[in-house]
C-alpha cells in the first residue's frame, strides 16, 4: 500500500487493556475496550500497510502488527537506537528501516516481514557540520527509492541531502536536496520533494525541477505536500486562519493549479502540513481540530473519535481500513502537571468512526 500522508506519522500498536508495555494485550471483547497504554519512547512514525499489517517506529524500536493493530510485536532491526530514523514497508514482507549516525546512513531491509534483515552502510556527506536531525524514506516500486536526510539547523534554515537508488537498495547516490521537507517516490522513480515549494527529480536527485504552483489568494506561508491521489495539497496560513488548497495538474506535474480551497477549523503555523489520505472517492484532508475531515468538494465528513492534532493518516486502497496518528498536550492545572499524548487510532468503516488502540504519554 502506498503511503498517503506526509510528515511524521506515529501511532500504531495494539489494543485493549491498559498497562501493557511493548506488546498490548488482546482485546477482552468488552464493548468499550480500553486503549493500550504503551511504555517506552513515543512513536516517530507509523502506517497501516494492509488491512492486517502495520508498523510503528519509535526512537528505540520497530513494532509490527499482523492483526490490524490488536497486537504490536517488537522486531529486532540492526540499526542503532536513539538516532534519527525512518521506516517504509511496501507490503507485509518488504520493508526498510534507515538510521543515521554522523555521515553514515544504515539501511536495513527485509523481505520476510522483519524476521531477517540485510544492512547496507551508505555515506551521506553532511550539508551541516551538526549532522542530520531527521530522515524520511519512500519507495515507488521494488527498484526505485529515496531517503531524505534533514540537516540539524535552527528553525531559520531548511537543508537536506537526498539519497536515491534504482536497484532496490543495492547502491545509493547522494546529492544535496533543494530543501528539506516531505518525500515521495513514484513508480518508475520520479522523486517528489515538498517543502516551501514543490520539486521533482527524474535522475535520482542529480537535478531538480521546481513546479509552478498557482495558489488562490496570497497566503503568508505555504507548506507543500507531495502528490496524493492526483492532487498536490498545500497548507496555507494567512494570519490566524489555515486552509488546504488541493491543486491538480494537466501537464504531468510541471504546473499545478485550479485549487479547491478547504478552510480548516484547526489553526496551524507555517511548516505544518495537514494530513491527506487517498480514498477511492478522492483525497480526504484531515483537520488538526478534532472530528473534521474534508472531501475535495468541501464536504465535512465529521469522523467520530479523532482527537486534536492528527498528524498522519493511512488508508488501505479500498479505503475501508486505516490508521491515524495524533499528538496533543494537556495540563491538569494551569502550567502544572502537563502531559504530551500520542494516540494511535484505527478505523474499519472507511473513516466514519475511529477507535484509539494505543496511547503513549510523556511528561511535558
Amino acid at each position: 500500500m502506498k503511503r498517503t500522508t506526509s510528515g511524521v506519522l506515529i501511532a500504531a500498536c495494539a489494543l485493549t487493556l491498559a498497562g501493557c508495555a511493548a506488546t498490548p494485550r488482546p482485546d477482552t471483547g468488552s464493548a468499550s475496550a480500553a486503549a493500550a497504554a504503551m511504555t517506552g519512547a513515543e512513536p516517530l512514525d507509523a502506517a497501516l500497510v494492509t488491512p492486517d499489517f502495520g508498523w510503528v517506529l519509535t526512537a528505540d524500536r520497530l513494532l509490527v502488527s499482523r492483526d490490524g493493530g490488536t497486537t504490536l510485536t517488537p522486531v529486532e532491526v540492526p540499526v542503532q537506537a536513539g538516532v534519527p530514523r525512518a521506516a517504509y514497508f511496501a507490503d507485509a514482507r518488504t520493508g526498510v528501516v534507515a538510521a543515521v549516525t554522523g555521515e553514515t546512513i544504515t539501511v536495513a531491509s527485509t523481505t520476510d516481514g522483519g524476521t531477517t534483515w540485510r544492512s547496507t552502510a551508505v555515506r551521506a556527506p553532511a550539508v551541516s557540520a551538526a549532522g542530520y536531525a531527521a530522515l524520511a524514506v519512500s519507495f515507488g516500486d521494488g527498484s526505485h527509492g529515496a531517503i531524505l536526510a534533514r540537516a540539524a539547523t535552527s528553525q531559520a534554515f531548511s537543508l537536506g541531502t537526498i539519497l536515491a537508488t534504482g536497484d532496490g537498495g543495492a547502491s545509493w547516490s547522494a546529492h544535496p536536496a533543494p530543501e528539506a521537507g516531505a518525500l515521495l517516490v513514484e513508480p518508475g522513480g520520479r522523486i517528489w520533494l515538498a517543502g516551501a515549494a514543490l520539486h521533482s527529480s527524474t535522475d535520482r536527485g542529480r537535478s531538480w525541477a521546481r513546479a509552478e504552483l498557482e495558489l488562490a489568494g496570497s497566503g503568508e506561508a505555504v507548506t507543500v505536500s507531495p502528490p496524493v491521489a492526483g492532487t498536490v495539497p498545500v497548507t496555507v496560513v494567512t494570519g490566524g486562519r489555515t486552509e488546504v488548497q488541493l491543486l491538480t495538474s494537466t501537464d504531468g506535474g510541471r504546473r499545478w493549479g485550479r485549487p479547491a480551497r478547504l478552510p480548516a477549523v484547526g489553526r496551524t503555523g507555517p511548516g505544518v502540513r495537514l494530513a491527506v489520505a487517498a480514498t477511492p472517492g478522492g483525497p480526504v484532508v484531515f483537520d488538526t481540530a478534532a472530528g473534521h475531515a474534508y472531501r475535495r468538494d468541501g464536504t465535512d465528513l465529521r469522523p467520530a473519535g479523532l482527537p486534536d492534532g492528527v498528524q498522519a493518516v493511512t488508508l488501505t486502497p479500498d479505503g475501508r481500513y486505516g490508521w491515524a496518528l495524533a499528538g496533543y498536550g494537556t495540563c491538569r492545572t494551569g502550567k502544572q502537571d502537563c502531559t504530551y499524548h500520542h494516540d494511535l487510532l484505527a478505523t474499519t468503516d472507511a473513516g466514519a468512526t475511529w477507535r484509539t488502540t494505543a496511547t503513549w504519554a510523556r511528561p511535558a
Partner: protein, 282 residues
C-alpha cells in the same frame, strides 16, 4: 539609537575594538545583576520560524508548560517563510506573558554553504559582527524595548570547526558581536549554535566573551548544565539556554506548530526572573 552616541565615544570604541580584537584573554563570563530589561528564566520554552499569529502564540501559553518563546528578530539569513512580527504584535505577545529569547540570524561562517557568510579575514569578520550587533540593537530599539541589558542571541549555525581559518573567523565575528553589544547602553550578548559543531566552547576564550550561550543539543535531556562539547565549568552562573529537541509538531489548545523545545537557565527579555519550578532545566 546607537548612531546618536557621542563622537568621542565612537573614537574610544574604535581603539578599544582594535585592542579587543588583538588581545584575546581567558574570561570567565559573569552574570549581570537583575534589571527590568531582563530576568533569569529557569523554565521551558519553544521557538519556531513560523507561528502565524499572536492567537496561535496565545494557544501555546494557556495551560501549557511553556514560559519562554524564541523570538526571531531578523537578519540576512532569516527564512522568507518565517513570521515577521510587527511592534504591535510583539507587544501583544508580551501581554500574553511570554518571556523572549531574542534571536538574530545574520551571515554564517565562511566555510559553510549558506547564502550569507562573513569573511575569513579577521578584522573584516570582527567588523561584520559589530555590524550585525548594531542591526539587532536597532531592531529592538524600534520595538520600543528597554535596551539596557536586554539579551540578544546570534544564531551561528554549524560549520567545520576543524577548519582553523573558519574557526578563527567565527571567533572574530562573535568577538565583534559581543564587543558592539557591550557598548553603552550595553546588552547581554548571547550565541546560539550546536554545542559541538558551532564551536561554542571556543568563544569562552576570545577577547569579548559572550554573556551566555544557547546550545543546541537535541538529546531530549532538558538539563542546561549538560550541553555536549561545552565544558560544565563554562557559563555556569545562569548563563545557559539549551535547545534539547529539534523541529517537530506539537498541538496545544487546538493549535499545531512546528517547534523546537528549549529549557533555560539564563537571561530572557524582560524581567522579572522566573526561577526553578521543577521543569528540569536546572
Amino acid at each position: 539609537m546607537r548612531v546618536k552616541k557621542e563622537r568621542w565615544r565612537k573614537r574610544l570604541a574604535a581603539v578599544a575594538a582594535l585592542l579587543a580584537g588583538l588581545v584575546p584573554v581567558l574570561v570567565v563570563p559573569a552574570a549581570g545583576t537583575a534589571q527590568a530589561s531582563f530576568g533569569i528564566s529557569q523554565r521551558m520554552g519553544w521557538d519556531a520560524c513560523g507561528i502565524g499569529s499572536t492567537a496561535n502564540a496565545q494557544a501555546f501559553w494557556n495551560n501549557t508548560p511553556y514560559w519562554n518563546m524564541g523570538l526571531y528578530l531578523g537578519g540576512s539569513s532569516y527564512g522568507s517563510g518565517c513570521t515577521r512580527w510587527t511592534t504591535a504584535q510583539v507587544n501583544t505577545l508580551r501581554s500574553q506573558g511570554w518571556m523572549f529569547l531574542p534571536l538574530w540570524v545574520g551571515p554564517q561562517a565562511p566555510c559553510t554553504g549558506f547564502g550569507s557568510r562573513f569573511s575569513y579575514d579577521g578584522p573584516t569578520a570582527f567588523q561584520q559582527g559589530r555590524n550585525e550587533a548594531t542591526a539587532a540593537y536597532n531592531k529592538i530599539t524600534t520595538l520600543g524595548w528597554d535596551v539596557l541589558n536586554a539579551p540578544i542571541i546570534y544564531d551561528l549555525e554549524a560549520f567545520n570547526t576543524g577548519n582553523s581559518s573558519c574557526l578563527a573567523a567565527a571567533k572574530q565575528f562573535i568577538s565583534g558581536w559581543v564587543y558592539q553589544l557591550h557598548l553603552a547602553p550595553a546588552q547581554k550578548a548571547g550565541v546560539y549554535g550546536s554545542g559541538c559543531a558551532s564551536g561554542l566552547s571556543s568563544y569562552a576564550s576570545i577577547a569579548n566573551v559572550p554573556d551566555f550561550i544557547h546550545g543546541a543539543d537535541w538529546s531530549g535531556n532538558r538539563y542546561t548544565g549538560t550541553i555536549t562539547c561545552v565544558p560544565s565549568g563554562y557559563w555556569t552562573n545562569s548563563q545557559r539556554h539549551k535547545q534539547y529537541r529539534g523541529d517537530h509538531n506539537e498541538t496545544w489548545n487546538g493549535v499545531t506548530l512546528n517547534i523546537d523545545n528549549d529549557c533555560s537557565n539564563g537571561p530572557v527579555y524582560p524581567g522579572p526572573s522566573q526561577l526553578d519550578n521543577g521543569q528540569g532545566c536546572v
